[in-house]
């Protein structure tokens, strides 16, 4: 499997630290980029095609621009024929949000926090099988 470009979008520094560390340890990514909210992530992605990630782990509740707003803006964003696999990172308190998020065609899956090796491996197997 080719190494992939991963973007983490979460306002929680501790989660970002652990998740980035885990992804780096698994040696699956050529790049792991961390953005603290949807807006930061969008401006990063829109900088150019080379910044467009293969896989996005997206938190729901964030200040400035939350997960929902990110998904909407991401859809309306600039034209590119590249596609990103977007996985929502959830916590047990996200019940109603999940129902809503299932309506977004951009969302490829849901994973409960924290990420683990098994969860990441299953994402790779499902969406990036060689």
């Amino acid at each position: 499997m080719d190494k992939i470009d991963v973007l983490l979008i979460d306002d929680d520094n501790i989660s970002n630290f652990i998740n980035a560390r885990l992804i780096n340890r698994l040696s699956i990514a050529c790049k792991v980029q961390v953005k603290l909210n949807g807006q930061e992530a969008l401006s990063y992605i829109n900088e150019g095609d080379e910044k467009f990630p293969d896989l996005i782990f997206l938190d729901i509740n964030m200040p400035v621009m939350n997960g929902f707003e990110f998904l909407q803006s991401f859809r309306q964003g600039r034209n590119t024929n590249r596609k990103a696999v977007i996985i929502i990172l959830t916590t047990s308190s996200d019940g109603n949000d999940l129902e809503e998020l299932r309506k977004y065609p951009e969302v490829c899956g849901f994973l409960n926090k924290p990420l683990t090796e098994d969860k990441i491996t299953s994402v790779l197997r499902t969406h990036f099988a060689a």
């Binding site: 520094n13 501790i14 630290f17 652990i18 560390r21 924290p114």
Partner: protein, 137 residues
């Protein structure tokens, strides 16, 4: 004897936490004792503590092998985060066994001392004798 203001214990083993808490309480070496069963919860506690303008605990007794955020990750994250008064904090890793690779990893993180489990009165006292907050000026 002068007491520490607070000690933070981080270990995913509840029995260890229980026994170590008992020892620390019996020795009356600190005013406040906090314990958490993983690095993430302990780190969130430190973040909240810092946001509420409270100083970091004087001593952190840290298990190294824990799920999600292990002791090494804990130390690394702690070092790069601006907690209140963190320069006064002493982190002591607690381990079951130390091989060369582990001790090199600990040393690389700037930690000079560690304790072998189980925590004992003697070894805890040795750490406390040298703790900057307890040395008489």
């Amino acid at each position: 004897m002068k007491k520490l203001n607070s000690i933070l214990m981080v270990d995913d083993d509840h029995i260890n936490n229980f026994i170590n808490s008992k020892l620390i309480k019996r020795l009356k070496v600190c005013e406040n004792l906090f314990h958490f069963s993983n690095g993430t919860d302990a780190m969130r506690f430190l973040e909240d503590y810092s946001i509420n303008q409270k100083d970091c605990p004087d001593l952190i007794l840290l298990d190294l092998k824990m799920p999600v955020m292990d002791g090494y990750d804990f130390i690394e994250f702690f070092k790069k985060t601006p907690f209140r008064n963190k320069e006064k904090v002493q982190i002591i890793p607690l381990t079951t066994s130390v091989n060369l690779k582990d001790s090199q990893k600990i040393e690389a993180l700037g930690i000079k001392e560690f304790l072998i489990k189980p925590l004992k009165e003697d070894s805890l006292n040795k750490i406390l004798e040298k703790h900057p907050a307890l040395i008489k000026h």
